[in-house]
Amino acid sequence: MKITSEITKNSLIVRLEGELDHHSAAEVREKIDQTIGTSERKNLIFSFQGVSFMDSAGIGVVMGRYNKMKEMGGIVIVSECNDYAKRILEMSGIFTIAPYCDTVEQAMKICSETWSHEE
């Protein structure tokens, strides 16, 4: 699984590429948590655009990151899922706490608004 991260003013953007299952989730978790630590950003935006396969392990990855960011007073936004990944994430109700946006740009807008509001 390929994991690329980008740090913007208000958020950490994590783009996943490849197959996300229980096996790859371990590595994804570890790498993202490392980046969260060094990035010093409160908000996390996922892009699932490159995810060619995902099972319920993907829910755990989002859920775990949500718990981490919440502790720091930040939010998690999920974006750019294909239909299957979206269907699986939707089943779990995760979008009620980590909202879904069609694009990373929309997600960034929400993060900057949240940020300004907090200031």
Partner: protein, 145 residues
């Protein structure tokens, strides 16, 4: 049921075999010329059941054996059976509940059985604590008209 073709796959409970097992099953299912959507659903259902055997049945120890059997019928049904000789499930009804997991600390979501149910037409679980679990899923593919 009379089967048109059937395969059996066995492997040790290494998590890297999750990807192997769903690709192998997809290669078999391809014989029925499924839609991309059906193939994704089959791969996802298999991935859930195989992951459960690796994570729960054998508790991530790598020395358990996972068996996957897949059969196809003339009327385009795919029967998938994933079995293990692991710890078994005490309360199957509870295990099937959405969001129930016995491994919350490891970021399991408790949605595995819900995904299997949603992506196939029938899910049957038989299990004996201490002896193992057998998950049977049946999926009816679209009839080509």
């Amino acid at each position: 049921m009379k089967y048109k073709n059937e395969i059996k796959i066995q492997f040790p409970s290494h998590s890297e075999n999750e990807a192997f097992s769903r690709t192998a099953v997809a290669a078999f299912a391809a014989q029925l010329d499924p839609t991309v959507e059906e193939l994704t659903e089959i791969k996802t259902a298999i991935s859930e059941a195989v992951s459960n055997a690796i994570i729960h049945a054998y508790d991530e120890a790598q020395n358990g054996i996972v068996t996957v059997e897949v059969k196809s019928t003339e009327d385009r049904k795919i029967v998938m059976i994933v079995s293990d000789e692991g710890i078994g499930i005490g309360d199957i009804e509870k295990a099937k509940e959405p969001l129930y997991t016995s491994k919350a600390g490891e970021e399991r979501s408790g949605m595995g059985f819900t995904v299997m149910e949603s992506f196939t037409d029938r899910l049957e679980i038989t299990s004996k604590p201490g002896e193992g679990t057998k998950v049977t899923m049946i999926k009816q593919l679209d009839l080509l008209v």
